[in-house]
């Protein structure tokens, strides 16, 4: 029996069974959106910064092959070992083989959405390797055997009591602990031991500078640095789109990244790794995994500008009320919904429809990705490629037939208001999802058209 993946509406419905929890989730993320607003509004040149960041990323995408070559050349000159991976599988194999060469069985990893996308942990575990995530939120979802539900706040869906239970079971902390201060201290002690004993550390990459061959990793916890500076082998995994041309461009991106993400003026650590330290081996794996295909999709190419700040998730009224797991993809929320169909259009056909197209995501995006426009465009592609379900298709064709002809429309309208029957929110019975929690609009005595005909004599 093959496991069928639940769709966004199904998962969202399950999430919404506990309304109090939905309110809590929504309020928590809205609070972050408000912090983002406050932070952005303290920078008068904010919109100009976004525009500049967008233009820099446009330039990068238009010349990416050359930038990657320059980056590779400069990184190599700095003593970094550079690998290229066409897909997730190859990336995972490369990590595995680096570890094998050094006879390492255990690795500490800081946050990397790319490794989530590649399912690296599962792969390494299957091959007998032990991976410990060191970002607190990542560690929590790892203990819970769940994927992260948010790219910046991996366990934003979890309550502190649940985290207390996890720590009690896995880390031996006293039962019933729910004070974040105490829980964080527990994780600090547990992970400090990990940092001190691991010979290999993997980190993500926020920005890779073509001109200097260095890469920048941003964290608040200091976990990427603790891992990398104590390990003999440092592996950094980056998507091909992480390139920026020069160091000075970091000025633009570092001003935008964290203000957009959490409202902080900057992350605690913005670490620039240029050369391995003495006696250390430093690797970079440059990963494609579908990005070059997305590059070829003119309408969706701009999604590669993303710097993974998560602002679109925090502002999304749907994300806030459906939770990250409802997107059943490593990257959730609006940005996930435009990235995922590129990887598997059938599996993620539901995601571009998990939006009201309200447009708030595009407005908060620090690199000005036209997210909601892309959601609209993905819908067209998904339907054309045949991934819309048949009943919807038939309904649409009937609707089109009626709405394309004034005569049919009027007749239908008269016959008990055609629209009442065929516009999906309009059938008054238990099978109609509109009616479950909403009353129907009352059918008026006459339509506007009828009123007009009766009351207005055209000149």
């Amino acid at each position: 029996m093959s496991e069928t993946i639940k769709t966004h509406p199904e998962l969202a419905e399950i999430f919404n069974k506990d309304e109090e929890r939905v309110d809590w989730h929504d309020e928590t993320l809205w609070w972050i959106r408000q912090k983002r607003d406050k932070s952005a509004h303290s920078i008068p040149e904010w919109e100009q910064l976004r525009e500049t960041a967008s233009q820099i990323k446009n330039n990068v995408l238009s010349d990416l092959a050359n930038y990657l070559l320059a980056f590779e050349k400069n990184a190599k000159a700095n003593g970094i070992i550079v690998h290229w991976a066409a897909n997730a599988e190859e990336h995972n194999q490369q990590v595995h083989s680096i570890l094998k060469v050094h006879g390492i069985q255990q690795m500490v990893k800081s946050k990397s959405m790319l490794t989530e996308e590649c399912h690296l942990n599962e792969y390494l575990e299957k091959h007998g390797m032990d991976v410990i995530d060191s970002d607190l939120g990542e560690r929590i979802v790892q203990l819970a055997k769940e994927p992260p539900s948010h790219i910046v706040l991996p366990c934003i869906h979890k309550k502190k009591e649940e985290i207390g239970d996890l720590f009690h079971i896995h880390l031996g902390s006293p039962a019933g602990t729910s004070d974040p201060q105490v829980l964080t201290e527990t994780a600090r002690q547990h992970l400090r031991e990990t940092f001190l004993t691991r010979k290999a550390a993997l980190t993500g990459v926020n920005f890779a500078i073509a001109a200097t061959g260095e890469f920048v990793v941003c964290t608040n916890e200091g976990n990427a640095d603790m891992g990398a500076h104590l390990a003999d082998v440092h592996i950094a995994s980056m998507g091909i789109e992480k390139i920026i041309p020069d160091r000075k461009h970091l000025g633009v991106f570092l001003r935008l990244l964290t203000r957009s993400a959490t409202g902080q003026p900057i992350t605690t650590y913005s670490s620039h790794f240029k050369k391995p330290r003495k006696g250390q081996e430093m690797h970079i794996i440059i990963v494609d995994n579908g990005r070059t295909i997305q590059m070829g999709r003119e309408d969706f190419r701009a999604s590669l500008k993303c710097i993974r700040c998560g602002a679109c998730m925090n502002t999304c009224p749907v994300y806030r009320r459906s939770g990250g797991h409802s997107y059943h993809n490593a990257i959730s929320g609006p940005i996930g919904a435009i990235l995922a169909p590129n990887l598997d259009m059938k599996k993620y056909a539901d995601l571009p429809f998990a939006s009201t197209l309200c447009g708030s995501c595009s407005n908060v995006c620090p690199v000005k990705i036209d997210i909601h426009q892309q959601l609209y465009k993905w819908r067209q592609v998904i339907v054309k490629e045949g991934y819309a379900d048949t009943s919807k298709k038939l309904g649409m064709q009937l609707m089109t037939f009626t709405l394309s002809s004034p005569t049919v429309y009027r007749t239908a309208g008269k016959a008990g208001r055609w629209v009442l029957k065929h516009i999906p929110f309009a059938v008054n019975n238990q099978f109609n999802p509109w009616y479950k929690h909403r009353d129907m609009p009352e059918a008026p005595a006459e339509s506007f058209g009828e009123w007009y005909k009766k009351n207005v004599t055209d000149k």
Partner: protein
């Protein structure tokens, strides 16, 4: 100035009063306005569901009905935005392009074209204004809270001219209500929750009426209000601006 009145299908069928108020208001302001009887729908429900390729006939029909006017005015930001962004007609693209620039949502037509400064309207009630996303983020009727840019509000400008009207403030002034076209049934659970939250914001702040420039959002919120047996009513902004 000849103005074609574009009444979206669901307004025509369910909310004729919003259409009537729009018509009467425009006449009151001296506009030569006509309702072309052959119109049906802008095609948005299909297009937003991914079936834009089926909207060709709707588009042609729209063009046939409206290409002769100086302006096309409609009491729906969402439908207007759809026309502005997506009206394309084979072999008549030049004409379609002209139509795309001539179509106005009622509020922006009153503020930007007619430059209405002194409405004779009276509505002595506490009113909550719902910013419909397509009108706001698509047509820029009101400044968006996400942007670092000077504040303005076209509906606010008009409502300030209405005698006795008290505009309440909201905790989240421009959050989506969750209607979203077919989203309202495809994503029923989230849609309803969004609607409930939006309604609650208005109720908490003492609204007697929830008003807006898009009847579709209001229909969704009305459905929730009625189910909750609330006495609070929804009303299209045209009905307020036309109230005496």
């Amino acid at each position: 100035m000849k103005v074609g009145l574009f009444i979206p299908c669901y307004v025509d069928q369910f909310y004729p009063n919003a259409g009537i108020a729009t018509y009467q208001l425009l006449r009151k302001l001296g506009v030569d306005v006509t309702y072309p009887a052959g119109q049906t729908c802008c095609g948005q429900p299909m297009a937003n569901s991914g079936f834009e390729h089926l909207t060709g006939d709707c588009n042609r029909l729209f063009l046939d009905n409206f290409s002769g006017f100086d302006y096309i005015v409609s009491p729906s930001g969402s439908c207007v935005l759809h026309i502005k962004d997506h009206l394309h007609v084979e072999n008549a693209e030049a004409e379609a392009t002209v139509v795309r620039t001539k179509v106005y949502e009622l509020v922006e037509f009153l503020v930007d074209i007619l430059k209405v400064k002194d409405l004779k309207a009276k509505f002595p009630h506490k009113v909550g204004l719902h910013q419909s996303c397509h009108g706001q983020r698509g047509l820029y009727l009101t400044q968006m809270t996400e942007l670092v840019a000077p504040y303005f509000s076209k509906p606010g400008q008009l409502l300030s001219q209405v005698e006795g009207l008290e505009l309440i403030s909201l905790s989240r002034e421009d959050e989506c209500c969750g209607f979203g076209g077919t989203f309202c049934v495809v994503e029923e659970a989230v849609s309803v929750k969004m609607g409930k939250d939006r309604v609650k914001d208005h109720l908490t702040h003492g609204a007697e009426y929830i008003i807006g420039a898009d009847m579709s959002c209001l229909m969704h919120m009305e459905g929730i209000l009625k189910r909750e047996n609330s006495t609070v009513k929804v009303m299209h902004i045209a009905e307020i601006l036309n109230a005496e």
